[in-house]
């Protein structure tokens, strides 16, 4: 009808369109990015812009798809809609000032990011941590991991068209958030770890609450299995869908449940032990099917393993200080040097690298977000699948966009 007009409501046509001839088809006229996503070899294919506002891209991920019918010829994730310059902010803030940012990189497993940053600073400045604080860190971080996995579970089922599981997951997650609120003072964007300990000591109410929560969640997990995991529709939707071979995992540097679902038993808690994790008896769940179902099963098994860790930690919680008496004041200066600290987040290996020149603020901070590497393999993994499978694959990668964009 109006073939010469642009498809986009802002009225801008692609500036590069005529220059490099990339935008011959008005399907892809648009911003500077879309016009680089040229029509492929098949002239009859459809270019679909999934996101940044789309129900199953969990926030503001944008995926450019070239479709042949409902089959995906090419897929390309576009990042940057939630870029907040965390790394740059780290260069202008003192370590203590930067701590609240760590609750906002990955809002679902904020305590793991807390830990990665605190760990890197402690390593560089040689700050000691009391044993009780280590245990409290383990307990809260694992509780946070469970809440992250529960939310993922609900949201993933939502992606697959089941509306109810997320309500059940939120029921349990609510109890977790109440517990973590007792310890950290906040419900989502925690920043309660401190250089040399944790902000608050565990109250008897918290210890009691955790003790009650463990059997509660264990009694709920069989219901999840019976209601959802064994559902034939779900199994057909995600079994043998989104196969990520080991080779692809290593090429893209994927980690966490994505790697463990492909048979790579890599878990930072085991591979590069930190804190007091070596004192607990737990397993690293690994599946070899390499498909979305494998990643699903890994995460469900991890909930149980986290419960085991919490159970042991809460029973052997040592007495003592929650902050080291010699912990530095917030205005302390980092010594010159470099340090790297990695922890296992709910999505994979979280790494923080700090370089300091001895000034008030670090010279450079690099945040290694696991979601970034995990999402990177989507383009290769989704090729040739159906549109509905792309949603199932994206969900099984468990992306948190703020973490990917940082």
């Amino acid at each position: 009808m109006h073939s010469t007009e642009t498809l986009w409501s802002n009225g801008t046509s692609c500036p590069a369109a005529s220059a490099d001839g990339g935008c011959a088809d008005d399907q892809i006229a648009g911003d500077g990015y879309t016009c680089r996503f040229e029509q492929g070899a098949r002239p009859e294919s459809l270019i679909l812009n999934m996101g940044p506002q789309h129900p199953s891209t969990h926030g503001v991920l944008r995926v450019l798809l070239e479709l042949d019918g409902e089959y995906i010829v090419r897929a390309e994730p576009v990042l940057g809609y939630l870029h907040r310059m965390h790394e740059k902010m780290a260069e202008v803030k003192t370590p203590a000032q930067f701590m609240p940012n760590m609750g906002r990189v990955d809002y679902l497993h904020a305590l793991a990011w807390n830990w990665a940053y605190v760990g890197a600073v402690e390593k560089l400045a040689g700050i000691e941590i009391p044993e009780r604080a280590e245990y409290l860190r383990v307990i809260t971080c694992e509780l946070n991991r469970i809440s992250s996995h529960l939310l993922w579970w609900g949201a993933y089922l939502l992606d697959l068209g089941a509306f109810t599981p997320i309500m059940y997951a939120f029921d349990d997650r609510e109890m977790l958030l109440d517990l973590l609120q007792l310890m950290t003072g906040s419900r989502l964007t925690y920043s309660s770890f401190r250089f040399g300990g944790v902000y608050t000591d565990a109250s008897p109410a918290f210890v009691q609450g955790v003790r009650q929560f463990i059997p509660h969640l264990r009694s709920r997990l069989p219901m999840y299995t019976a209601l959802v995991t064994e559902n034939i529709i779900l199994r057909r939707r995600i079994e043998e869908v989104g196969v990520i071979p080991q080779d692809m995992v290593t090429r893209y540097g994927a980690s966490g449940p994505v790697a463990r679902g492909s048979g790579i038993a890599y878990d930072v808690r085991r591979a590069e032990p930190y804190s007091v994790y070596d004192r607990f008896d737990y397993e690293i769940p690994v599946r070899h099917e390499e498909c979305s179902m494998a990643r699903y099963m890994v995460r469900m098994a991890e909930i149980e393993q986290s419960l085991r860790i919490i159970e042991q930690a809460i029973e052997s919680l040592p007495d003592g200080e929650h902050m080291h008496p010699k912990a530095p004041k917030p205005s302390f200066k980092l010594p010159a040097g470099e340090s790297y600290f990695a922890v296992e987040g709910a999505r994979g290996k979280i790494g923080v690298w700090i370089a300091s020149d001895g000034g008030k603020t670090p010279y450079r901070v690099k945040l290694r977000a696991p979601g970034f590497s995990n999402l990177a393999l989507f383009a290769e993994c989704a090729r040739g699948t159906l549109l509905a499978d792309a949603v199932a694959i994206l969900g099984s990668l468990d992306m948190v966009i703020p973490e990917i964009d940082r």
């Binding site: 068209g161 309500m167 559902n231 939707r237 159906l386």
Partner: protein, 324 residues
């Protein structure tokens, strides 16, 4: 029919249509409320409870909101097709209610080809979804429309086969006569004789009415809202109402064919019919809030590989037994 169409019969049909429109409108409100309460019950939350006592006015408030909203058409959408689609989705559904016998006295138009009339006019729904998806100039809408057509065309066949089995058995296409052929007690209903046909009919009806787990044309997590992505206000409201009206028709026909219609163990009447229809509707809602969505190829595989062959076998078996 023939030349004996009199003024009286035309008046009767018009009055029946008005009655049906009222019935559909009221039921739309009721079912929206019921759906949300059922969802709330299944998801362990209260559901609507702010507007009116126990939230019973919530559906009314929603309807008023939809009616009050501006009608928006996307820039490059085809105006004719775009606005025709919701009208075409909703109004033919009213005709479907005409031959349905709510009770011996409460039948809009007792034609001897009632079943045929319903199946014929039900086909309009596909056209409406196709126009909506095509006319709104939206890629998600187009994909949704393509899915809707493939799905509706596919699921019509096993639906017909299941209906044919009953028609064979009863030897009539009149819905009143089919109810008349069944008894009041549950073991005298057709579902006992034709359980497979019932299963095929009900699953196909879920597919035909685009209800979860077969709600692929509007698969929210994949196609944002599928064919009605671009519709708001009453444009969307019409599709919404049509979906519920279609559900009522599907459950009504199911009740007539398999569950003895207005007949019950005692006090035959419209209340039995409505009770059975609402029972089926509740189970449809129950499915929706429990199961994930199937994938499109699986949906079609289920139809072509299972429902269709089973439907044919069932029909052959029925014909064979009837011949004996």
């Amino acid at each position: 029919m023939n030349a004996t169409i009199s003024f009286d019969s035309v008046l009767h049909v018009v009055l029946a249509l008005v009655g049906v429109a009222v019935f559909v409108g009221l039921n739309g409100l009721l079912l929206v409320y019921a759906e949300r309460k059922v969802a709330g019950f299944i998801q362990r939350r209260p559901g609507p409870y702010e507007v009116g006592p126990q939230g019973i006015l919530q559906a009314v408030a929603d309807a008023l909101k939809l009616i009050g909203k501006q009608l928006v058409r996307p820039d490059r959408a085809d105006p004719l097709l775009f606005w025709m689609a919701p009208v075409l989705a909703f109004f033919p559904v009213l005709l479907l209610f005409l031959p349905i016998p709510f009770s011996p006295l409460l039948t809009g138009w007792d034609v001897n080809l009632g079943l045929l009339l319903i199946l014929a006019f039900a086909g309009f729904n596909v056209l409406a979804l196709l126009l909506a998806g095509w006319g709104s100039n939206n890629k998600y809408g187009l994909l949704g429309a393509a899915r809707a057509v493939a799905q509706s065309v596919a699921y019509e066949i096993p639906l017909l086969l299941a209906v044919l089995a009953i028609a064979f058995q009863e030897g009539t296409l009149s819905l009143t006569a089919i109810v008349g052929g069944q008894g009041g007690m549950p073991w005298q209903w057709n579902i006992v004789v034709q359980p497979l046909a019932f299963l095929i009919f009900f699953v196909s009806a879920l597919g035909e009415t685009n209800r979860a787990p077969f709600d692929l044309p509007e698969a929210e997590s994949e196609l944002t809202a599928g064919f009605h992505t671009e519709y708001s206000g009453m444009g969307f409201g019409m599709f919404f109402l049509a979906e519920y009206a279609n559900m009522i028709v599907a459950c009504s026909v199911c009740t007539v064919l398999f569950l003895g219609g207005w007949k019950g163990p005692f006090l035959d009447g419209a209340w039995w019919f409505l009770a059975k229809v609402y029972g089926l509707l509740l189970s449809m809602m129950w499915f929706r809030w429990t199961y994930p969505r199937v994938r499109f190829d699986q949906l079609l595989n289920l139809n072509w590989r299972w429902l269709l062959p089973l439907g044919v076998l069932n029909l052959l078996a029925t014909a064979f037994v009837m011949k004996l």
